[in-house]
């Protein structure tokens, strides 16, 4: 079964454990500035929103790359940057409508979420289940269940 990251902003508290986990997974240091998931804090609305790559099926970044440095990990559906191939031209960062692929000045390459090879560190680190890793075909399941629970139907008689 293919899975995908599922984000429920209403559960996010802004603790940034996801950013720390992401950076530690990929760089070996705790460094939110290298995180591939970012939490945005809309202070005056009291909203916090984690945001990262949604792994588009037909990915703008992948299509734009002139050197084919972005490839599909078919097993998990992730679009993955091959650092050895990336030339740092940044065309993908222009192509991506969501801003979720970004250039790293220190290494001269781009980086994006790669789903940690199928076991995303951000989801494991989230203390409130604002970030989960669920069946890619059923990311709406919890929301459906919530609405179903509100349906005012009597239990069927035996």
């Amino acid at each position: 079964m293919q899975k995908s990251l599922h984000i429920d902003p209403a559960k996010c508290t802004g603790c940034l454990q996801c950013e720390m986990a992401c950076s530690y997974e990929h760089t070996g240091t705790i460094n939110p500035s290298k995180s591939r998931i970012k939490v945005f804090n809309f202070e005056h609305e009291g909203r916090k929103v984690p945001y990262t790559c949604t792994q588009c099926s037909d990915a703008w970044c992948l299509n734009a790359c002139p050197v084919e440095a972005i490839v599909v990990d078919a097993a998990i559906g992730a679009k993955v940057v091959k650092e050895a191939v990336c030339v740092g031209c940044k065309v993908c960062t222009i192509a991506c409508p969501f801003g979720t692929i970004n250039y790293m000045a220190d290494v001269g390459k781009v980086q994006k979420c790669d789903l940690c090879g199928g076991d995303p560190a951000c989801a494991k680190a989230c203390p409130t289940a604002a970030i989960t890793y669920v069946d890619a075909e059923w990311t709406g399941l919890d929301r459906m269940r919530a609405w179903a629970a509100k349906a005012n139907t009597a239990a069927a008689a035996a």
Partner: protein
């Protein structure tokens, strides 16, 4: 490791920024943050220095767990000689600022001297610059943060700053970071203002790499997070209700100081409680509370984000206050509310927002208003002197006085002196509910006896965060003790004081101690830091920090006479509730405490104690 091993020394007089290596011997003796910064302070300043003179220093420090995945590992501490207290001051804050200092590659920033003109420190990794803050002076903490981010075109900068209160040297001015987190107490913001230092802006992209044993650290932090999640207080009560969960609890046990401690129960406590924040308002159908919020790394998330009623008299013509904003936390709700008899939740949120906006400690501000209201009712202060009617319970007075105090307008200038100086000025020093010049927080020590000893002996003046015996005496953490008796409280207070010093020095939040003991902290510190960090060593480090702070205060001129409570708490019994008829037994507990501490009957650490602690 755990530390970056780098200190930035900023000489504001000369305008220089100089890196220097962290004193690792001291790090081994004092761990970090509160402990390590205090060691630097006491080694570098004359204890008798005027807190507002250029000879005082102001230190901002992280701990070894700051900026890590340890839950609540986002705190930084401001250490200086307090403007309000003349004692050692140590105020810590959450938000995101502390972690950013660590990510920029620094453990600590030491500010010394006084800038000839307003400046702010801009720190981007190794690059440190003092920049002109002429355009920021006069701006609020909120405007300062926004302006700095905009002018650097970098929304990821983290800022701490002073507002009007710090600029005007309100003696309980604080330092605000991330809009509504604050190094709140003892007037650290006034010291910052006296140095013409408006703000510190940080951007760090280096991260924390110096964890001694990463796999062990991850295992230890994950285990400790589970302890927090499984605990009823840190896993359920605090996330849902915030610290405000205490309002009704403390009122019911008769320990909610009301109307300048005349009473110990507030008849309108329910109206300003956590439960009230969850209720829909009749005016607009919305709840006061919008959401909870976490500081950096925190898996508890006790923070409150609320939205004031736009129809409330305080803001109906001020749209800038209509958005979501920080508050109310229990201490602020108490100090702005019960302490002066105001039961209007929206008024409290307004006053709290102005405290954040202008950089003012809501505890000392609210409690000082309470003292002024009592003097107004006694006829010692007139309407003409204050500029308005100020009886207990007046939400209008509260809302006007908060702005007047921050900006130093009219009678606000006198409120800005704090209750001790204010009450002395009008001939009633006994009406100041303070110790060492710092106002009490939200627990009446007639109903929670251990808190009387906590306040009397706190090294930074009256404070609940030096030894929160409420945990034991009211909530039964880690063991239940009887709040109405003095027996055993000397030992209890010492144990809490020493353990809390370690939590503070590590760079984590003391609220974890509802669920964690030192045994939960120890594996995290051990995995992060090189060297031996056994339970035994941490216990000694905590006690060493406490005694070091004590020695500074003794050298500054404090004596055993200053380890005392105002006469009201010793002579006027609680009128209602479970503590009815009781006063605080501080005179019985104090000598016991000195003995438990290994201090002389005059409250001075004896030679054996100093030798044992290596002081």
């Amino acid at each position: 490791m755990g530390w970056n091993r780098k200190v930035l020394r900023v000489n504001l007089t000369a305008g220089t920024c100089t890196p220097e290596p962290l004193n690792m011997k001291w790090a081994d003796d004092y761990l970090g943050s509160r402990g390590l910064a205090s060691k630097y302070l006491v080694s570098e300043i004359d204890p008798k220095v005027d807190p507002l003179s250029p000879d005082n220093k102001l230190i901002m420090s992280t701990g070894p767990l700051t900026g890590t995945m340890a839950s609540t590992g986002g705190r930084y501490t401001v250490v200086t000689k307090g403007a309000l207290t003349n004692a050692i001051a140590c105020s810590n804050s959450g938000g995101y600022f502390g972690a950013e200092m660590k990510f920029a590659g620094w453990d600590m920033i030491i500010f010394e001297g006084k800038s000839p003109k307003p400046v702010y420190l801009y720190l981007e990794n190794d690059r440190a610059e003092l920049r002109d803050a002429g355009h920021l002076w006069g701006r609020s903490c909120w405007e300062t943060e926004e302006t700095i981010k905009a002018s650097h075109q970098d929304p990821q900068i983290k800022v701490c700053s002073i507002g009007a209160a710090g600029e005007n040297q309100v003696l309980f001015a604080c330092i605000v970071n991330d809009l509504h987190r604050a190094a709140g107490r003892s007037g650290v913001g006034a010291v910052m203002g006296s140095k013409n230092l408006k703000a510190v802006a940080l951007r760090g992209t280096q991260g924390v790499s110096g964890i001694k044993d990463f796999p062990a650290f991850m295992a230890a932090t994950n285990a400790a997070k589970k302890v927090l999640a499984d605990n009823a207080v840190t896993g359920q009560g605090l996330p849902k209700y915030g610290t405000q969960v205490l309002m009704n609890v403390i009122n019911e046990i008769g320990a909610l100081p009301t109307r300048n401690h005349r009473d110990v129960q507030f008849e309108e406590a329910g109206k300003i409680s956590a439960e009230a924040m969850h209720e829909k308002r009749s005016s607009d159908g919305k709840t006061h509370l919008v959401t909870n919020a976490a500081c950096f790394g925190c898996t508890i998330a006790c923070g409150r984000i609320s939205q004031i009623d736009q129809n409330h008299f305080s803001v109906k013509n001020s749209p800038k206050y209509w958005g979501a904003s920080g508050g109310l936390e229990y201490e602020a709700a108490w100090a702005l509310g019960a302490a002066n008899g105001v039961g209007d939740l929206e008024a409290l949120q307004y006053a709290n927002m102005l405290c954040n906006e202008h950089g003012m400690d809501p505890i000392s501000f609210g409690a000082t208003v309470g003292a002024a209201m009592e003097m107004y009712e006694l006829g010692l202060l007139s309407k003409a002197q204050i500029g308005l009617d100020a009886p207990f319970g007046s939400a209008e007075a509260l809302c006007k006085l908060v702005e007047m105090t921050a900006t130093g307008e009219g009678f606000g200038k006198e409120l800005g002196l704090g209750s001790k100086r204010l009450c002395e000025k009008y001939g009633r020093p006994d009406l100041s509910m303070s110790v060492k010049g710092q106002e009490f927080p939200a627990y009446d020590s007639r109903g929670i006896q251990g808190m009387g000893l906590t306040y009397a002996t706190s090294n930074r003046g009256a404070c609940h965060l030096r030894s929160y015996t409420v945990a034991s005496e009211v909530l039964g953490v880690p063991v239940k003790t009887d709040p109405l008796v003095t027996e055993g409280k000397a030992e209890l207070v010492k144990a809490f004081q020493d353990a809390t010093a370690v939590f503070d020095a590590a760079g984590i939040c003391v609220f974890t101690s509802f669920a964690w003991t030192l045994a939960d902290v120890q594996p995290q510190v051990q995995a992060a830091c090189e060297g031996d960090w056994s339970m035994e060593k941490l216990a000694v480090v905590g006690e060493r920090i406490w005694n070091m702070e004590r020695q500074f205060n003794l050298a500054a001129g404090f004596t055993a006479k200053d380890d005392d409570l105002p006469p009201r708490l010793k002579t006027e019994p609680a009128k209602t509730g479970p503590a009815k008829g009781l006063v605080n037994g501080i005179d019985k507990m104090r000598p016991e405490y000195y003995q438990v501490r290994g201090w002389t009957p005059d409250g001075v650490p004896d030679q054996a104690t100093l030798d044992r602690l290596g002081l």
